[in-house]
């Protein structure tokens, strides 16, 4: 993949569908459940991850000839922590009401397996632009998954989307509570597996942990 011809379409499709970090790779599940009680939180978390992944992949790619392979993991950790801190500080300043609810999870982006694994698997071997596109595509997949979950949970739990109510009652309050997050995640994963098996001949299901 180090040739100049890079198929961006494949990278993007891969990030969003084929290797969707949440539903496919089942990596970094904590925020998927934690912040998706509303569409808005899910979206902003997704944007944060998108930003971090793009910047981390870009930085790693730029520095790939400079970083000594023996200490590459610690180096990547520094890079990730830096961009997470930047995101954290920026969100704390500009999106205060959201930050109050999910500040901890923004900081914990640093521990996402998906960020480190893309740095290691893709960015350390590719040029700047493809690496950033890969990071963005993965982030996009992440963002879409969070928004999807957010829609599911907010619509059912509060009868609203992005804070705008479309029914007066709260249909199933449980969906915005901790237990509801797990239900939503499990049901949605199972449902996507089912669709995959039914319409795309996939072998969905039996996904491993991690």
């Amino acid at each position: 993949m180090t040739t100049d011809k890079v198929n961006y379409g494949t990278i993007i499709k891969n990030g969003i569908f084929g290797e969707n970090p949440v539903f496919r790779l089942a990596l970094s599940l904590c925020p998927a459940v934690a912040v998706t009680s509303g569409v808005k939180n899910g979206f902003l978390m997704g944007v944060a991850v998108l930003f971090v992944m793009t910047m981390v992949n870009g930085t790693v790619s730029l520095l790939r000839n400079f970083i000594n392979p023996k200490v590459r993991i610690p180096s990547y950790m520094f890079i990730i922590a830096t961009w997470v801190t930047v995101t954290d500080l920026v969100m704390a300043a500009y999106a205060r009401d959201v930050y109050k609810q999910m500040g901890l999870y923004i900081m914990l982006i640093v521990a996402f397996a998906i960020v480190l694994s893309r740095a290691e698997m893709f960015a350390s071997k590719n040029k700047l632009i493809p690496s950033m596109v890969d990071g963005a595509a993965m982030g996009m997949g992440f963002l879409l998954a969070l928004v999807l979950l957010g829609i599911f949970r907010e619509a059912l739990g509060k009868g609203s989307l992005w804070g705008y109510k479309f029914v007066e009652t709260k249909p199933l309050l449980i969906m915005i509570m901790p237990t509801g997050g797990f239900f939503a995640m499990g049901l949605m994963m199972g449902w996507l597996n089912w669709i995959d098996r039914k319409f795309f001949g996939g072998t969905g299901g039996g996904g491993g942990g991690h």
């Binding site: 199933l172 309050l173 449980i174 509570m177 237990t179 239900f183 049901l187 199972g190």
Partner: protein, 344 residues
Amino acid sequence: MEATPKEQPKVQPKAPPEFFVSIGPHMRTEESTAKIMWTVNAALLPATLMSVYFFGLPAILVIIVSILAAVMAEAGMQKLLKKDVTVSDGSAFLTGLLIAMNVPANIPLYIPAVASVVAIAITKHLFGGLGYNVFNPALIGRAFILVSFAKPMTTYTQPVANIMAMDAKTMATPLSLLKEDGIAKLLEVYPNIYQDLLMGNRAGSLGETATIALLLGAVFLMIKRYITWHIPITFIATVGLLTWVFGGKSGLMTGDPLFHMMSGGLILGAFFMATDYVTGPSIRIAQVLFGVSCGALTVLIRLKGGYPEGVMFAILLMNCFAPLLDRGMRSRVFGKAAAKGVKK
């Protein structure tokens, strides 16, 4: 073989009748899963009748809707998963009935229906159907709607003993009165509290009110040996003991165990839900531990927790621990202890 066979065996010399061939034992008991389930349903009949007597038409509607939703959910899930439809075994019926027993009479009817569907579809069939569920379906159904529809689920009505009564006045349950307003208020609302608890003339979920009717069913099940003492008796006794020790306002040993044992859903839960075969432990010592823990958790929630009633959460919590209990208590095999002393 040294000798060569000359005469081939005549396997069927004169066309004998065809025989069934199977591995033994060739005798079975008369018991069956369906028989057990329907018997438990029958044991709930007295309590069901009492609830209809006290709460009238709304109770009947709740019972019908809950059972119908449960049975339809079971049939639907089994069709969807391409399994044999086994609604006739009475287990979905039982889940539906237990959900009805666990909601207030004047609840909007879609709420118990939601509980039935969650109980059957998610708690039971996603986990593989009858025998594989980890949690008691009826209790998960109830917890689900309690959290989702907190207000209607905690609005109880006065028993009216009038079949056509549609709009009974709201009334607090004895436990919530005690927890929030104290003993004086409790006695003001329920002057004959013990009698009311025994006969069921009190606010509460449909099936939990008439202690005597529940005990009738429970005794029947115990005589039939469908349930044993290990879980329910230890459960109730623990609640009694702990409420007596810690439940009083004026120091240790001043609580009222009788009140606590008869109020809330304790009798219903201890005899009909904690004893669920599938979600409880199956080893006897583990069952005793299960019962005692259920009791302790119930008292903890009633006295210290946010909810006035703790039976449901106590059983659900112990459902989590049932596999662990069974696992920990399994070493009692015949001759295993003796085998350690023998030199091989």
